[in-house]
Symmetry: C2
Subunit: 277 residues, 2 copies
């Protein structure tokens, strides 16, 4: 069953990377002026502000910090690099806490010089190393499975099943799953694995955009909702059936849209959100 | 367990698309002169020759026609287009028979205007429509699962499990699976699903190349064996454990290599085959 049409922007969140040309102050102001309520902050968006100051800017605009993007990238053939990754994730957790964002999204990483299985073992070790701090700081960790297209260098967790298996291994209230339609739309197990998140009460985030046909660039050609082949209302229906009541987060990497006027783009986002999500 | 190193070219097959600039006569002659034994013919390689004549050229060179590429592309929201696809697949089966190739590879297709599930239903209907002719002509059909990267327009069969499920549905000696390392290397179920092919005696083909890091182009930037992150000896080990004794088929789409001297490229292929497969 598809989701009921969205009637307002009260559950709309935008990722700062979506409007990359805007600094955090402009982004917060523009989002808020359109009636958008949530913002997910990418770490590069702190700019000259620290996370604490960024959090103040966000709250002053009347926005809610939904999550911080991103932690992860645990695997490496080099043990020293893996240690650095854990240190950086602990720093990201501190930043999320200072931002007063309740969640850190994990793009878990992969090293093409080793097998995906080995990368997943190192992801497990990385999560194990940071999970206590997540609990202490009150910041949730959301494992985002990435499209198999990115299995070489970005994540060895490429399906919802793998994300659920990893979350299930730890079985912690501080560890869950972020569903991004771009990464999982093709998967025949999607509906079942979303329901599994619901059963485990660990569906932490829902990211939206669209898969363009054709896609011109492997990284930076994501589409606005409605521009591609993903049945977003269907997936949102499954998400909501699983009990999710959080924000619908627009996360679009697009060299094309980054070059356009960002006010126009934000208007297009709000329209696409109401019509095609 | 990894496969034992390859000692000679007796099981090497090259796809005509790999050396796209060469016509079928040059390709056959050059492959044979290097000691290569197998050739898989893409339909565009017939050129001004018909399939019967192409078959004669191949056999005159001392090569074996391993398969014809490619049939499939069954799904469409338009029923007329689906009928045309079935007619074209029947034609491809006739061509394979005239070429005296024992197999037709299926890139099953997908239509981004409908769900992957619907596309898979139409793939099932398409295979059902052509399977009797395949048996009558003595031409096997090999379902090639494609990387989820191609789930929008090229195939709604994106994992070995889906290919095995589809083959299992028909349970015919004329229908099996083609494993291409490029499409399946990332899949945590790969070893198990290859073993399942072995149990079902339907592992019909094995295609090799490599996944470059980074990959520059979504379609035409495949790497030579050894240039990327795929553990080909590992996968070949699983394939051989499943009882496969056919050719190792080099299928590389590369705008980069197509622009180079094809004699040099063929020498690089044979070296990469012996060193990295």
């Amino acid at each position: 069953m598809k989701a009921k049409p969205l009637k307002d922007l009260s559950r709309l969140c935008i990722h700062t990377i979506t409007t990359r040309p805007l600094d955090i102050e402009s982004a917060a102001e523009k989002y808020a002026s359109l009636g958008i309520r949530g913002i997910t902050v990418w770490r590069d968006a702190f700019g000259t502000h620290g996370p604490r100051q960024a959090g103040k800017i966000i709250r002053r605009s009347g926005l809610e910090a939904v999550s911080l993007c991103r932690g992860g990238f645990f695997p490496s053939v080099d043990p020293g690099t893996r240690k650095l990754a854990i240190a950086d994730n602990l720093k990201a957790l501190e930043e999320a806490s200072e931002l007063e964002a309740p969640m850190l999204v994990l793009v878990c990483g992969a090293d093409p010089r080793q097998s995906p299985e080995t990368s997943r073992e190192q992801i497990r070790a990385g999560i194990e190393a940071i999970l206590p701090s997540a609990g202490n700081l009150g910041v949730k960790l959301a494992i985002e499975p990435l499209h198999p297209l990115y299995a070489d260098t970005r994540s060895a967790i490429n399906t919802m099943k793998q994300a659920n298996d990893m979350a299930g291994y730890f079985d912690s209230p501080w560890l869950g799953v972020a569903v991004d339609v771009y990464h999982v739309w093709w998967d025949e197990d999607l509906q079942r694995e979303i329901a599994r998140c619901g059963d485990n009460n660990n569906l932490f985030a829902f990211h939206i955009c669209d898969w363009k046909v054709p896609t011109g660039d492997i990284l930076f050609d994501r589409g606005l909702m409605g521009e591609g082949c993903i049945d977003i209302p269907q997936i949102r229906g499954w998400i909501e059936k699983a009990g999710f009541e959080g924000f619908n987060e627009v996360e679009i990497f697009s060299e094309i849209y980054w070059k356009t006027d960002q006010d126009d783009f934000l208007n297009r986002i709000t329209r696409a959100y109401l019509e095609h999500t």
